[in-house]
Each structure stands twice: as C-alpha cells, then as structure tokens.
Amino acid sequence: MGLEKYRKKSPWILHYNCGSCNGCDIEILAAMSPKYDLERFGILNNGNPKQSDIFLVTGPLTYRSRERLIELYTAMPEPKVVVAVGSCTCTGGVFSDMYNVENGIDSYIPVDVYIPGCAASPELIIDGVVKGLEILEKKTKEIEKPKKLLGKLDEKEETINRTRFAGNILGKDDETSN
C-alpha cells in the first residue's frame, strides 16, 4: 500500500529495564528531554507494547525479568524492532557469567541493533534508534517469534493468542533459585 515510508516518521518507543543499573535508563530519558528533543522525529515514549514499534531494552537480563521480556516482546504487533541499549544488554557487560544473569538478551529475543557503552550516551542511542528505523522500514508483517518460547504462536490459525507464552521458560531454574 506504500505505507511503509511512514513507519520511520512516527516510531513509538517501549522501554523495558531488565535488571539495569539505571544508567542507560537515565540516558534514554535524557534523549527524550528538551535538549535532544526526540519528539521532533515523531518519537514518543509510549510505554504500551500494543502501540509501540521500537523495543528499547536495558540491563543484562536477570532470571526474574526473562518472563516479562518475552511477554512484552510477543505483545508488540509487527513490524517491530529490538534495540539493545548498553554493554550489559549486548553481552552481559560487567555482570557477565554471574549466577543470576543471562549474558545479554539475544539468547531470548532477536535483536536488530546493538548499542555499546556503559552507559550508552544519548547521541549513541539516537544513532541506534535511527539505524533501527532503517531496519523497521524493510520488515514485513510476518509474526516474529522469541527464540525461547514454549507457548504456541502460529500465523495459520484464525486468532492468535499472544498472552501467556513465557510461563514455561522458567522451569527448573526458577525452582532452584527459590
């Protein structure tokens, strides 16, 4: 329909903190503030997965936050782009190989843009989001699945149930940590 070119003119952002030290979160909020004024590109920090296009994730992905991450990711309607903000989110950073941390989010959901830095500066975040917009423009409306998911997400079915996928990924890990 030719509507793809409008995707990059109004990207709405969903920001999720999966165990970050708040450094990157503050930088994201700084990028939204009047000094950098991301709203001039039509970017809004929406906070609602069902209306968002870009998923900004910070933090090294602690065990407790994996379930939420996958729930938020599956609740977002396609096309969507995942941006990993900060070293922790890309590789685990200073928290890598700790007992309660997965090393980065890319073992759970597909990541499109990695932004390095501890904490990533607002300029880097803006650059990363702009890079994400280029990817967003080329994406199709096909369902994108998380990498670890025991629920069912099949496009051939008439209605797609997007809720309660992540209930099973915890499994044994969760029982031992209690």
């Binding site: 995707r7 109004s10 009047p34 004024d37 709203e39 001039r40 039509g42 069902k50 369902i143």
Partner: protein, 278 residues
C-alpha cells in the same frame, strides 16, 4: 453558512481536527523551547498505525471504540447543524459511557482503573457542563445553537461561564492538571491500554473530535460576533496549553473536588447575576 459548507465541515471533521492536535503538539514544544513534531504528525501516526498488524482483544471491546468514535462524529454534526445544547451534552455523555463500557470489557486492571477514573471525571465535569448551558440560557434565552449564533453577542455577561469552560476543557480533552483518567506512564493510558494498531487510531482520532466539542462551547459564547468567537477560541487554546505545560497532574479525588467546587461557584455567580440584573 451554505449547506455545502456545513456538509464539508461535518464530513471532514476528523481531518481538520487532526491539524488542531498537530498544532497543539507544536505549540507545547515551542513553549518548552523545543522544535517539536511536524504539523502533519497525527497523519503520520495514522498511516503508521494502519500499517501495523491488527490486534484485537475481543470483538465487543473493538466495536465499542468504533461506536465511541462515530457517536462523537454525529455529535459534531449536531453542533454544526445548530441543535439543542442539552441534546449535545447528553450525546457526549452517551459517548463517554460507551468508552467506559469498552474499558470494562477487557480483563486488564489498568483498563478498569481508567474506566473508574473516567466515571469520576464525568461526575466532576458533567454537572458543570449542564450549569454552563443553563448560564448560556439565562443570557441568550434559548438552548438552540443556531438561534444563539444569530443573537447579538453578550460575552461580558457570560465571563464567569467562560472561566468555568476553561476549567473543564483540560478534563474533557485529558490535559494536565486534569489528565488522571488517561495518566500516561502511570496507568499506561487507562482505557486505551488494550487497543493496538488500526483500532487504536479510532480512539486517537476521537480525541480530536473531543477537542472540537470542548472548544465549540467557547465559540457559542460569542453569539453572532464570529470574528470575536474565533479569536476567543484561539486565545483559549493558548491559555489551556499554557496551563497544561505549567501544571502537574493532580489526584483524581482532588480533581473532582476542584472542578465541582470552582465550577459550581463560577456558574452560580453567573446565573444569579443574570437573574438579578435581568
């Protein structure tokens, strides 16, 4: 106005109302010394939302959003056709009730909180809307909009009613300090939370129609002086956005108290005054 002009004003209402919203976002940005989004931003948002994969929680929930939008559109048509002020207020109440039912038709707790808050907001501003129309009746002697707009302007005897309208416009259009029913980031939009993609667009566009509804009351105050009416609407637009930018959100209980007390006092002064000096 000719019939064709009125017809166009009604049919194109969501389109020019979108420019109203775009102007509001630019104005807010300029007040904060930002550049702000382009004027066409609501249209870009619409195209983007049309392009997303459709999401539906249940059919009732989605249908209610459509009902809400089209009820408001009919309401705008009634305003331009010059119907009775009371019909319009009660039709707006019906639209709000539909929205509240939409909020209660899903399981999300935030949606329920949003509906509860919207009910409280109606408790706050609906009596004031009625008192405002009574105040207009006391001065102009009729509830019919078409008659009021052909009567000589008596704005000065409606000055307190004007302040009451300025008081409730943020509550109707969900602006600060009275945006607790929507409460972005606090309850993630309240009733809007479960809408996604194209269905969210109907709620998004309904917001523009609510703006037309709210500002039409100010236009009516000016009577047959249409230039003064337009000026008054633009001035109020500036004033409401200034208030929105310079105040923080207040609690829903405080909002109900503030609107009811201030609104009833302002309207009563005006109604009593027009009784005494009649």
């Amino acid at each position: 106005m000719s019939n064709i002009a009125i017809f166009l004003l009604i049919v194109l209402a969501p389109i020019y109302a979108a420019f109203f919203e775009g102007a509001q976002r630019v104005l807010k940005a300029k007040m904060q010394r930002r550049i702000g989004p382009p004027l066409m931003q609501p249209f870009y948002d619409m195209y983007k939302l049309m392009d997303k994969r459709a999401l539906m929680v249940n059919k009732t929930h989605t249908l209610f959003a459509l009902f809400y939008f089209f009820t408001l559109w009919i309401l705008i048509a009634f305003i331009f056709l010059g119907f009775n002020l009371l019909y319009i207020i009660f039709l707006h109440l019906l639209a709000s009730i539909i929205l509240i039912l939409a909020g209660f038709s899903v399981k999300s707790i935030f949606s329920h909180i949003g509906s509860n808050r919207k009910l409280l907001a109606i408790v706050a501003y609906e009596p004031i809307l009625l008192l405002i129309s009574v105040g207009i009746y006391m001065v102009y002697g009729t509830f019919e909009i078409s008659v009021i707009l052909n009567t000589p302007s008596q704005f000065l005897s409606l000055i307190f009613v004007y302040f009451a309208i300025i008081l409730i416009i943020p509550a109707i259009t969900k602006l600060s300090p009275f945006d607790a029913p929507k409460a972005h980031q606090e309850i993630v939009g309240g009733i809007e939370i479960e809408y996604g993609a194209i269905f969210y667009e109907f709620l998004y566009a309904a917001k523009f129609l609510e703006m037309i509804f709210a500002y039409s009351f100010i236009y009516i105050l000016a009577g047959d002086n249409h230039i003064f009416g337009t000026f008054l609407v633009l001035f109020s637009f500036l004033l409401v956005n200034l208030i929105d930018n310079s105040t923080a959100r207040i609690q829903i209980s405080h909002m109900v108290k503030v609107i009811l007390v201030l609104g009833i006092v302002l309207c009563s002064i005006n109604i009593l005054g027009s009784l005494l000096w009649a």
